[in-house]
Assembly symmetry: C2
Homo-oligomer: 218 residues x 2
């Protein structure tokens, strides 16, 4: 019984890592669509989101079946519930990359990001994508040190968000209100992807150690 | 045993309704701070958020204790898990009203919302606050019809968001980039509060009927 339980739990974590890889692809492609103004890639991201939703449903069914049939307690119970929360957050990260793709699509045949804002937005996208890649690894390996290290990448994201606001509010900004609003919202979406990545990593720390990251160290 | 279980479940739903009332107050006060440029009210919203966080922890502990000690299955299990999800969403709604309060505080002694944008933003805030009030009632009474009706309020919010973009992208907009970015982000925060309100209401429909709202009607 216990062994079957842990096999199912491992299988749930593999599914979570699989969803995380779908999200990684979605963040990568939505950024490509954004920076090149490619409507076809944007559409691909938007329609691929249904796959994340279906994968989420499968994880939820596995979790409910584990809770009903195996009736876990203590750490095992908290692990299953953590899995349910992780899948909601991963789904949300996918939704946020769809928002990026929709801004890209809205501005075709133009590119939403003016050249002056490109380095900061590109770097935000890189940081977000890198964080999602690291979360896939963290879910798969349950590497607590890597999970704790991830929160530092979030600090770079906060700094980039401030830089981005400085750029678009400077007297040199000549790209008008529409581009500024796009940049502000894009910054918000990448920042939220990063926030969720940290949150998923923190749940892995909790699953492995039974403690929240602040209590574990760094 | 079963009776004790349902008493604890009722108590969890009362706590959820209580958190929802805290969120309602937070949305109301953050809007007041925003529309009057009142730093003191904004600070009050920001510091009151800790109370929502503590209340969330209490609900989570109740839910874990229900799952561990009572080992619910089927509908009872789904109800407890729905409670865990509802409390995350309510906490998030509180965070979003804190974001509104922070924009208000950032612009003091000025008011972030220019007069021309005021009717639309005020109406978004009213719709959001009304939705949160209705969700408190829905959680308390588990009123499925009221929960299904709530999704229509969300349509007004979507329409208001479009109106707001039209206003700030029009040739008549003379308030510059900073105010436009504030308005775009405020619109996003109120819209997300509304989204979460609909989601919480949908979970109540699921708890009562065992089905998702689309299957129940309207």
């Amino acid at each position: 019984m216990r062994e079957a339980f842990h096999d199912q739990l491992d299988s749930m974590f593999n599914d979570l890592a699989g969803i995380c890889r779908l999200v990684e692809e979605s963040v990568r492609l939505s950024t490509a669509a954004l920076l090149t103004g490619d409507a076809e890639i944007a559409e691909r991201v938007i329609s691929a989101d249904a796959e994340v939703d279906r994968a989420r449903e499968r994880v939820e069914e596995t979790a409910f079946s584990l809770l009903s049939l195996q009736q876990p307690v203590a750490g095992d119970l908290r692990t299953v519930v953590a899995g349910l929360r992780m899948v909601s957050e991963l789904e949300r990260m996918g939704d946020l990359s769809v928002h990026v793709a929709k801004i890209a699509r809205l501005r075709v045949p133009h590119v939403a990001v003016p050249d002056v804002a490109r380095p900061t937005i590109s770097r935000m996208a890189e940081v977000a994508e890198d964080m999602v890649t690291r979360v896939s690894h963290i879910i798969r390996t349950r590497d607590v040190e890597a999970a704790i290290a991830l929160s530092h990448a979030d600090e770079e994201m906060d700094q980039l968000r401030r830089t981005s606001f400085t750029e678009l509010l400077s007297a040199d900004w000549t790209h008008g209100v529409e581009a500024a609003v796009d940049i502000a919202l894009l910054g918000r979406y990448y920042e939220r992807i990063a926030d969720h990545a940290v949150s998923v990593a923190n749940r892995v720390v909790f699953v492995v150690t039974g403690q929240n990251p602040a209590a574990v160290g760094s």
